[in-house]
């Protein structure tokens, strides 16, 4: 069973001349895999993640999440795919500053129509998983950068998605905190989560089991699936 499958995905930004952000990328991430997209700025990492996360549609080619094609789905159903199948982690965390860490994590289940009490119970579990159970009542402003990113990861994790997509998760953090995040992601992967991260930090890239190198919108090298 594949968690994520791109088949000849191409993304072309209109303009004169048109910018080819992705050139016929085919990629399969299996269930339980931990892969890193690496490459210089402008190589198409973020575009690939956006397409994989159904935030953008490929100009041509197809995307399958957990085996289901999403290319033809209307916005309402794409949103449902994101709500149930994909967890996102961003470089800038994007936590709501007026909500506690617990409520921020709980908002990961907001668009599934789950009652607030059940969302909070699941959020408490997810916070415990990332090691922040003792900080659940604090607001993002009261947390360190590493703790904020852990909270954001817990938010992506809380819905038990098919795949977690993380765009530069350590980009805003110092080295120590970045290492902590990497360790957390590795642990989550060991516990069964499928994770795809984009990074231009080579240290992180080497620590991840599978490395996919992008250059100018095409896959330059792929260390290959471990399984």
């Amino acid at each position: 069973m594949t968690a994520l499958e791109l088949d000849a995905a191409t993304k072309e930004h209109p303009g004169s001349p048109p910018v080819m952000a992705l050139r016929s990328v085919s990629l399969t991430i299996g269930e339980g895999e931990f892969a890193a997209l690496v490459g210089p700025s402008g190589s198409g990492k973020s575009t690939l993640l956006a397409i994989a996360g159904t935030l953008e549609r490929p100009t041509s080619g197809s995307v399958r999440i957990a085996g289901a094609g999403v290319g033809h789905l209307p916005d309402r159903e794409l949103a449902a795919v994101r709500a149930y199948r994909i967890g996102f982690v961003f470089q800038q965390f994007f936590l709501v500053p007026t909500l506690s860490a617990l409520d921020n994590v709980a908002s990961g289940l907001l668009y599934r129509g789950i009652p607030a009490a059940r969302r909070r119970r699941a959020a408490a579990e997810a916070l415990a998983t990332v090691g922040l159970a003792h900080r659940s009542g604090h607001r993002p402003g009261e947390l360190s950068g590493g703790e904020q990113q852990r909270t954001a990861i817990a938010r992506a994790l809380v819905g038990k998605p098919a795949v977690i997509l993380a765009d530069e998760p350590t980009g805003s953090l110092d080295t120590a905190a970045g290492q902590g995040i990497l360790a957390l992601l590795t642990a989550l992967n060991a516990a069964g989560s499928t994770i795809l991260i984009a990074t231009h930090n080579p240290e992180i890239a080497t620590a991840v089991p599978r490395t996919i190198t992008l250059r100018d919108g095409a896959i330059e090298s792929d260390s290959g699936s471990m399984r």
Partner: protein, 619 residues
């Protein structure tokens, strides 16, 4: 694999839709509002001011019309006039001399009064050139004319059966001004038809019969004897039972001149005035347009803010999309936020506008003395309803009555209400007798304020606490409240000597000439003086059928004044009717100005915030 694809599709399509619970929608909106308190406050304030402007504008227009209608009602809508029209042969028709008596015999007619033609002019003295008539008409008048017109005397007395036989004249309001009779002291004489006539009285303006304002009225007997007038009526005023107005109007012409009913014109002056009142509604459209523009400008400002806020919150929108929100969810979130703001702003605006509206409305209701200024009319039946009769046990009621003042808690709470003051002898058990017209009129003449007169206080300035004082028909001068000083007020009497006012233990005593008798006391209260009658008088406040309107009645049930009350209204915004126009205009302009300034401020604030955010994200 194939199976998996299908399964996944089914799940994505119907098994697990993206869904936002309604409770969560509200929570999100509340979060969005509470998360940006300053912006939310400014937005809500903008909406509030716009709505307040609109509500106040509507209220002002509405209450000015209501006030006109009330004035007309006070004048009596049951008046009809009969005048000779053009005859068929093109000449001026003449009513038969018997017409008033004939009309009087129509069943529902309550009273009639006629004025007759007198071929004479009136001059200030015998030295005035004959051409300088000042356009004053001389009529002979029946002695019950004033009563029928429900008119009031400015000074003196009306014609009575005695003075109607002698050279005595009563002048209409503008005629008196033209002849200088309104300024002269003592008894003056005018040169009328080649004879000296003594001016025995002058009239207040009569809105229902403006022709009498420029008239000199003499008795029928003296007109016939001295001036040779034939006494044919030029106008007959008819008071009929209000329910039978149409029927009476239908038969008036044939009754007045059975031989030539086509020569008789019947009109209803109140109808003309009502039409004018309706026309003033047109003014409302102007106000509405102004309020609408204010709201539109504010709306554009708010739309601006929303656009900026959406730009500023692109990050949040992206996050929510990533969390699985559909476009509809995002839109609903923003719209709900706006709706919350609009609700908060709109509600407070409506309250704000309502307060202003009630304040102004209240002011107009206090104009003049109201019907209480009339000489007492017996109502036969004593009504004991209202707060006193309903709520208090007998002993407490007696105590309250003996205190001879409105209830204190009411007086405090609705201090703005206190306007009419009546001073009467106790009349606990007697049914009041109806005074004759002559008695009632002589009541209003004299050197001192009579018992049984109603003193009404009307605020005459919006900024200073000055009150015009009237007792019955007469202007008693004015009072000025000086906060912080020991002496309360000064008053100038007109023709009645000074009225004394003294401060005694934070209480002001209004006394009649010579200080012999206390007429009323005025308590200092926050928000304005509370005035209540002192001597043997009981006042009653009844809530009227209309919302927060209270009627002040005396023990006979006669309504002294009606006032609108707003629970929130602490200060007494009392504006006399003559000054109603400038006040709302100023309020309106102030509101619009404040509103525009706030929109501008809000826009600038948001722009600055957006720029700062942009700078931070790019830096």
């Amino acid at each position: 694999m194939n199976n998996g694809i299908l399964g996944g599709r089914r799940q994505g399509r119907s098994g697990h839709p993206s869904r936002l619970r309604p409770a969560d929608t509200w929570a999100l909106a509340a979060l969005g509002v509470a998360g940006r308190p300053v912006r939310a406050l400014l937005s809500a304030l903008g909406i509030a001011l716009g709505v307040a402007t609109l509500v106040a504008v509507l209220g002002i227009a509405g209450s000015s019309r209501a006030q006109l209608i009330a004035q007309i009602d006070a004048l009596g809508t049951n008046l009809l006039t009969v005048t000779p029209g053009q005859s068929f042969t093109n000449g001026q028709a003449v009513l038969p001399a018997t017409a008033p008596a004939m009309v009087r015999r129509i069943g529902p007619v309550q009273s009639t009064a006629a004025i007759g033609e007198v071929n004479a002019n009136v001059y200030r003295n015998d030295r005035i050139p004959l051409a300088n008539t000042d356009a004053i008409n001389v009529y002979s008048a029946q002695t019950n004319l004033l009563q029928t017109m429900q008119g009031h005397l400015a000074r003196g007395r009306f014609l009575n059966p005695a003075t109607a036989r002698f050279p005595a004249v009563v002048l209409g309001a503008s005629a008196a001004a033209a002849l200088g009779a309104d300024r002269a002291g003592g008894t003056i004489q005018v040169w009328l038809g080649g004879h000296w006539f003594a001016v025995v009285g002058t009239l207040e303006p009569l809105p229902l019969a403006p022709e009498l304002d420029r008239a000199a009225l003499i008795g029928f007997p003296v007109a016939r004897r001295l001036l040779g007038a034939r006494g044919s009526p030029v106008e007959i005023y008819v008071r009929a039972s209000p329910v039978s107005m149409a029927a009476v109007a239908g038969v008036l012409a044939a009754t007045a001149d059975p031989a030539a009913p086509q020569n008789v014109t019947v009109t209803s002056p109140a109808d003309a005035l009502t039409t004018r009142a309706d026309a003033s509604v047109a003014l409302q459209s102007l106000f509405l347009a102004l309020g609408g523009i204010a709201l539109l400008v504010g709306g554009i400002g708010i739309a601006n803010v929303m656009v900026i806020s959406v730009l500023e919150r692109r990050g949040e929108i992206g996050l929510r999309r990533a969390l699985g929100a559909t476009r509809t969810h995002i839109a609903v979130q923003f719209v709900t936020e706006s709706a919350l703001l609009a609700f908060a702003g709109g509600t407070s605006g409506a309250v704000l506008g309502g307060v202003r509206h009630h304040g102004l409305r209240h002011g107009t209701a206090l104009e003049r003395g109201g019907p209480g200024a009339h000489p007492r009319r017996g109502h036969g039946r004593r009504r004991r309803r209202g707060w006193r009769g309903r709520r208090l046990p007998r002993a407490a009621r007696r105590a309250a009555v003996s205190r001879r003042s409105p209830p204190h808690h009411l007086a405090r709470r609705y201090s703005a209400l206190a306007a009419g003051v009546a001073c009467r002898q106790p009349q606990r058990s007697t049914v009041p007798t109806t005074p004759t017209a002559e008695e009632a009129m002589s009541d209003s003449i004299g050197g001192t304020v009579e018992r049984g007169q109603v003193i009404s206080l009307t605020r005459r300035s919006a900024w200073r606490r000055e009150y015009e004082m009237r007792a019955g028909e007469r202007d008693l001068g004015w009072l000025r409240w000086r906060p912080g000083r020991r002496s309360f007020a000064q008053a100038e009497g007109q023709g009645i000597g000074p009225i004394e006012l003294a401060t005694r233990r934070r209480r002001v005593v209004v006394a009649g000439a010579g200080g012999a008798e206390t007429l009323a006391t005025v308590d200092r209260q926050r928000g304005g003086p509370v005035i209540h009658a002192a001597r043997g008088h009981t006042l009653r406040w009844d809530k009227t059928a209309r919302g927060n309107h209270w009627a002040m009645r005396d023990q006979d049930g006669t309504v002294l004044t009606v006032a609108a009350v707003q629970g929130l209204l602490r200060s007494s915004v009392q504006i006399s009717a003559e000054r109603t126009m400038p006040e709302p205009t100023a309020v309106l302009l102030g509101l619009i100005g404040g509103y525009l300034a706030l929109s501008e401020l809000q826009y600038k604030t948001d722009l600055a915030a957006a720029i700062a955010a942009a700078a931070a994200s790019s830096g």
